[in-house]
């Protein structure tokens, strides 16, 4: 593989869209206002299961400013749709908060008022919204997210556990968690003849275009998705969601552009969330801590209308060298909102369980937790037997221990006091797969010496615009200041979503290949750019499919120091330090922000985040930011991220691994392990609330 020169890749270039963002000029989807637009406000079901009997459309149409009120009884029919997206196509209610109608009015105020007054009659049925591991309707899904096998088994884990000198057998649980990007979802939909234009914050303009095309029974070329700025996603903006369908339906019905903003409170039912998990982990080990067996059994929920199976046990297949292993995933369909991707699906809850169990094993064996992980380092991927393209977990653990000041740590829990605080430290490992997917890109040389790189990538705050300019500049042997990157528009060359931490690797490969092709064309033209410019394109489908078999993963080690108030149980993270091995770091500034941002979300997960299901009414009770707590400025004190040099030629032309998700993986376990060290109390169910510590 070619490797780009490194004049600009690896340098700390300022975010190229920073000025747009600090001046308020960056236009997010909801900031657009096409002429003649009307406002749509959706109405959500107030029952968790049952049927809509009647919607009093006539009364609402008489209200000031109301243009339309649409429900199953009068909605345009969609040619085909999966159940979650078949909005207003049925009388059935599958979860509380599901859209049952939409009101369209001239102003937002009129639409909100009318939506609030719309009478909807239901025939409610008994609902079931409680996840239990022993739920009688637990079933085995075909596959789990990202295409992984549902269950795996190697060797004889039961026999190995029965004869192991040391066994840890514990159940860990994580609550439902909501992504809550700061930008709520919003759609502006406008039809022009047969064509549909949608302004929508999305992590994948190309895939949203394809979804809309198939949903409305038209060729993708008739759909355009515009999304230059996205106010965070964390998985919540990866796939098409019902509100986009409602906005498009409403715009079709009223024949005017429609603006629909999902409110923060509505988001808790209709924009996805991380399923709650119940996870049983069993570790069998020799007295010195060498693992002989790992089993990891996961129980999760999904909705009646869609299946999402979070792959929480998958990291236990490749983390440590245990000859006997079993992993399983079971789901139950409940009358709940549909769960979906949230930062590091699978690894994030799964590694909380595994890395907490590893800490328990370290204590049971009397082995230092860093050393325990080093002792269980596998030679090759235990699951596939493939060699790792690179695996530097041990280097991360060693470097982290050195920077954190781990040496000489007294393992005794509950004995360090600093004033009112009980102080402790903990460690956990992180991992995330290094995926890459086909993408295409174009590169264009202008006569004035500038270049334009185009592809339907998304910069959701990751710094994609910036690093793609750096990658292009190196390949074209120019300066990033002369490269304009255009992204966030489905009219650009098709590109994979900003998800699975694969954006940079996938888009970067396409940009390198397009720029190489352009360089060839420029050389063939004797270096002179004709007045009309020169352009070249690339599609990496063949290259990505042909890549050699390797186990490709990023790794990391996270260290936490916590202080727990001895009287109240209030836990504060005093220090958080992560060291990561993620291939070549393309831009240290944006990479550090990505790592720290992931770690911050992990801190938030450890101490604060919890969506509480109301069994009586069947919805998430704490559905706003005053009640669903995410880390605020005062919660985040000393968070530092570092990385080790990693030279891996089996990845992509840049030699990079994705870094968007690994920062959150392992953080919660490191903090829970530190809380145990501080207090002697093992918290196996997140979040680590005061009431769980005060006994």
């Amino acid at each position: 593989m070619t490797v780009t020169g490194s004049r600009h890749v690896g340098s700390a270039l300022d975010r190229v869209d920073a000025v747009e963002k600090v001046t308020g000029r960056a236009r997010y989807a909801y900031d657009n206002a096409p002429a003649g637009l009307v406002h749509a406000v959706p109405v959500q079901a107030t029952i968790a299961r049952g049927e809509i009997l009647e919607v009093d459309v006539d009364a609402i149409l008489k209200r000031p400013g109301v243009v339309a009120a649409i429900w199953h009884g009068n909605a345009p029919r969609l040619p085909s749709a999966d159940e979650e997206l078949a909005v207003l196509q049925s009388r059935r209610v599958a979860y509380r908060g599901q859209y049952v109608a939409v009101v369209v009015a001239e102003t937002l105020e009129d639409a909100r008022n009318a939506a609030r007054l719309l009478r909807v009659e239901y025939a409610a049925e008994e609902h079931d919204v409680e996840l239990r591991a022993d739920h009688p309707r637990m079933y085995r899904p075909e596959r789990v997210n990202a295409g992984y096998a549902t269950d795996t088994e190697d060797g004889d884990p039961d026999a190995a556990l029965a004869s192991a000198p040391v066994v840890v057998d514990a159940v860990y649980s994580t609550p439902a968690e909501h992504n809550n990007p700061m930008e709520p979802h919003a759609t502006i939909a406008e039809w022009d003849g047969d064509g549909l234009t949608v302004h929508e914050p999305t992590q994948g303009a190309s895939s949203l275009r394809a979804s809309l095309g198939s949903l409305f029974g038209m060729p993708p070329a008739h759909v355009r998705v515009v999304s230059p700025y996205v106010g965070g996603g964390f998985g919540a903006k990866l796939k098409i969601l019902p509100h986009v369908v409602i906005a498009a339906l409403a715009a079709k019905q009223v024949g005017r552009p429609v603006k629909l903003a999902v409110t923060r409170r509505q988001m808790f039912a209709v924009t996805g969330y991380r399923t709650p998990t119940i996870q049983r982990v069993r570790l069998g080990a020799e007295a010195g801590g060498r693992l002989v067996a790992i089993t990891h059994d996961v129980y999760e929920q999904t909705s009646i209308v869609a299946e999402f199976a979070e792959q929480a046990a998958v990291p236990s297949r490749m983390m440590y060298a245990a000859p006997h292993r079993r992993t399983t995933h079971r789901l139950v369909r409940l009358d709940v909102p549909t769960p979906s991707y949230m930062r590091g699906p699978g690894e994030t809850p799964g590694m909380f369980a595994l890395e907490s169990a590893m800490d328990e094993l370290a204590i049971a064996c009397g082995v230092d937790p860093v050393e325990l992980r080093v002792r269980n380092e596998p030679e090759t991927d235990p699951e596939s037997g493939l060699p790792f393209s690179s695996r530097n977990l041990v280097a991360c653990l060693r470097e982290g221990a050195r920077r954190f000041g781990w040496a000489g740590r007294d393992p005794e829990p509950g004995v360090r006091r600093g004033g009112r605080l009980l102080v402790g430290t903990g460690v956990a490992a992180s991992t995330y797969p290094a995926y890459r997917a086909p993408s295409s890109a174009s590169a264009r040389a202008e006569p004035d010496g500038r270049f334009t790189v185009r592809l339907a990538a998304a910069d959701i705050g990751t710094g994609a615009r910036t690093i793609l300019a750096q990658i292009a500049a190196d390949t074209l042997r120019t300066s990033p200041g002369l490269v304009v990157v255009e992204l966030g528009d489905s009219a650009l060359p098709s590109a994979v979503v900003a998800g699975g931490s694969m954006g940079s690797a996938s888009w970067g490969t396409a940009v390198v290949r397009a720029c190489e092709a352009l360089r060839d064309r420029l050389e063939a033209a004797g270096g002179a750019v004709p007045p009309g410019g020169l352009e070249a394109t690339a599609d990496t489908t063949q290259e990505v499919r042909a890549q050699e078999p390797f186990a490709r993963h990023a790794f990391g080690a996270q260290f936490a120091e916590v202080g727990v108030d001895a009287d109240t149980g209030e836990t504060r993270v005093l220090r958080l330090l992560g060291v990561f091995a993620a291939g070549r770091i393309l831009n240290p500034t944006t990479a550090r922000s990505q790592f720290i941002g992931g770690m911050t979300m992990g801190l938030s997960m450890a101490l604060l985040e919890e969506s509480i299901m109301d069994r009586e009414f069947g919805d998430y009770l704490n559905h706003d930011l005053a009640q669903y707590h995410i880390a605020g400025c005062a919660d985040v004190r000393d968070v530092q991220a570092f990385w080790v040099e990693e030279d891996d030629s089996h990845l992509n032309p840049m030699g990079s691994k994705g870094i968007g998700e690994i920062g959150i993986v392992g953080t919660a376990a490191a903090i829970a392990n530190a809380v145990h060290h501080a207090t002697g109390v093992r918290i196996r169910d997140l979040p680590i609330r005061m009431d769980k510590l005060v006994r």
Partner: protein, 214 residues
């Protein structure tokens, strides 16, 4: 549950009422006609095309809509437009002057104090408010009780629930102006906690504000 409506409101809601007023935003006067139910955030965004301030929660819980009214930060999503027609409003678009970035805007770039950028306009307006509040001597929860020797009664520290929360006079030296609050990292973190950032840019935000405060 048969027959449940989404609301218990009756049908007697009054028709919308509009008001003509003059808004002073970023040193410009805007004559506007607004619905009395309209928030300042919706007016700025929908009528004046000042879309920098963002709607992150519409409930005053996230701070993304923060703007300055007479130099003080407010959450514009909970501010009715009709209540600010004689006030001076500054949004992120008006922070800089003469095409130059405000020092806070430059510091945010230098410290990579943003990722997706959605909360950034609110963070910046909030930070500008913090600088002014600290200069005016307004204490926060973590401000040391001062001036030294003045005793806790004079400090107006919010540990005392009876003390007015934002009374600069409470921190005043006897017969003197309020003493400015030094904006250390803890002070900044406390004062900026009304502005959520899901990307986790807090360390950069704190460093950027600390640099400008120095």
């Amino acid at each position: 549950m048969k027959g449940d409506a989404n609301t218990t409101y009756d049908d007697a809601a009054p028709a919308p009422i509009t008001v003509d007023l003059q808004l002073s935003v970023n040193d410009q006067l805007y004559p506007v006609t607004v619905d009395t139910r309209e928030t300042l955030l919706d007016t700025l965004r929908g009528r004046l095309d000042l879309t920098g301030a963002k709607k992150g929660c519409d409930h005053g819980q996230c701070g993304a809509c923060t703007v300055l009214v007479d130099g003080r930060r407010v959450v514009s999503c909970l501010t009715l437009t009709v209540s600010v027609d004689d006030r001076t409003i500054t949004t992120v678009e008006g922070l800089g002057s003469g095409g130059a970035l405000h020092p806070l805007q430059k510091a945010f770039i230098d410290h990579d104090a943003l990722q997706c950028g959605f909360c950034t306009p609110g963070q910046l307006c909030s930070a500008a408010g913090v600088l002014a509040e600290a200069a005016a001597g307004w204490p926060s929860l973590v401000t040391p009780r001062s001036p030294p020797g003045a005793g806790p009664e004079a400090a107006g520290c919010s540990h005392d629930p009876a003390a007015p929360p934002h009374d600069p006079a409470a921190r005043a030296l006897p017969d003197g102006p309020p003493e400015p609050v030094r904006l250390g990292e803890e002070e900044i973190r406390e004062r900026m906690s009304g502005n959520l950032c899901r990307c986790g840019a807090y360390p950069g935000i704190v460093a950027a504000i600390a640099e400008v405060a120095r």
